[in-house]
Amino acid sequence: MRSNTYTIAFTMAVTTVLAFFLSLASSALSERQELNIKIDIKKNILKSLEFSETKEEAWTLEIVQNIFDSYITSIVVDKDGNLITGKTADQISDFEKEFPIYVKKINDKVDGYSIPISGKGLWSTLYGYFSIEPDMMTAKGITFYKHKETPGLGGEVEKLWFQSNFRGKKFINPSGELIGIQSIKGIVDETSVEAYHQVDGISGATMTTKGLNNFLLKDLKKYESYFNRIRKQGDA
């Protein structure tokens, strides 16, 4: 039997050595990990705006950065719909008051807007991007980059079949009010008058899609006054 002093000294030595190695690895790798996270978010913004990875050209960190820099700019608006000039998405300090919009431009012509969306599903908070056509009322795409919903059920939100349903749907009703996009139970009846703001639901994922309906509307509300302003400018 070893003495207590030995036991305590031994455990302390072991923990110190192990902690040293772990923190060494953590600080050596943290820069690369943070870069990965940033690029992953950019990748999602790009995907929501109809860029896609091809088999010939896999998206490396550099390629994602390049595409992003060539097509995407960011602007910041406040809840009253004012554009905060000169500010970019990276400079936002208070996400409750200032909201980023990523703008896709091809040859200086706006091709779409992408906004961050997030909210509770069944088990977890989902994070993603929702993109909009230049008319400011038609959905262009939706992506999710982080969630912990059940694979095969709520996890289907990250699948192409679900996401591609959103394209072309309108989140503004004919009288010009924000209505959001609802994922319903079952398949959308395309002949229905409500079909313009409905997408096919995911069977077995009622709670996840309910959550999505709610937080998509909530996030769109934040931007509504700005979007509305742009819509009116378009009419004029």
Binding site: M1, R2, Y6, T11, A25, L29
Partner: protein
């Protein structure tokens, strides 16, 4: 000690066939179910477990005469947890997409019974070289089953092998459908059960 004398060879080979940790000892099932939907995650998991298990066994074997028996389990666990933490960090830095797909299951290697089991049952009584081989053998035995399960799940569930589609499109147009069950956990149970059965017959193991 020779490079691979009889005992060392047994330490490496036994867990592959006669004493496979998954099919015969039924350890490490949790992760075997979780990361076997597709081959690529199963392969990464295998590599991670090989790294953790062979290094943890070696380290524990080196320390075995110094570790006070009162605190041996917690010391083993700290070594294992640190190695897993390290693996997780490396994956996040160099294989970000993969680490996202594998989520918590990398960290859960800590609780993989195989890893602690080998530290306590083997590395505490044997030298570092043989413990290293034992760790390697067990990790390979584990990985072999993992990759086997993933092979069938991906083939039947997605019609692909390692991401390459192998079921031709003409099959799908003729009415063939991927088996959705294979993508969900029950699919893993069924495949694993069949593999355990086949393995026990092949290894001529009978229980009363």
């Amino acid at each position: 000690m020779g490079f691979l004398n009889k005992k060392s060879k047994a330490a490496l080979n036994d867990p592959l066939m006669n004493n496979n940790p998954i099919t015969l000892q039924v350890l490490g099932i949790c992760s075997a179910l979780a990361v076997t939907v597709k081959l690529d995650t199963a392969v990464v998991m295998t590599v991670a477990v090989i790294a953790v298990l062979s290094i943890s066994n070696t380290v524990i074997a080196l320390l075995r005469n110094l570790i006070p028996s009162k605190v041996r389990i917690i010391v083993q666990l700290s070594v294992i947890a640190s190695l897993v933490g390290l693996t997780d960090q490396v994956l996040q830095a160099y294989m970000y997409e993969m680490s996202k797909q594998m989520t918590v299951f990398v960290s859960l290697i800590v609780t993989n019974c195989i890893v602690m089991g080998r530290a306590e049952a083997f590395a505490m009584q044997n030298g570092p070289w043989r413990s290293f081989l034992d760790g390697l053998g067990n990790a390979l035995g584990y990985g072999m089953i993992l990759i086997g399960v993933a092979f069938f799940r991906e083939l039947l569930g997605f019609g692909s092998i390692y991401g390459f589609q192998v079921i031709p499109d003409t099959f799908y147009t003729a009415g063939y459908e991927n088996m959705g069950l294979m993508v969900l956990s029950p699919g893993a149970f069924i495949i694993l059960g069949l593999i355990v059965w086949a393995h026990r017959i092949a290894a001529k193991i009978e229980e009363d």
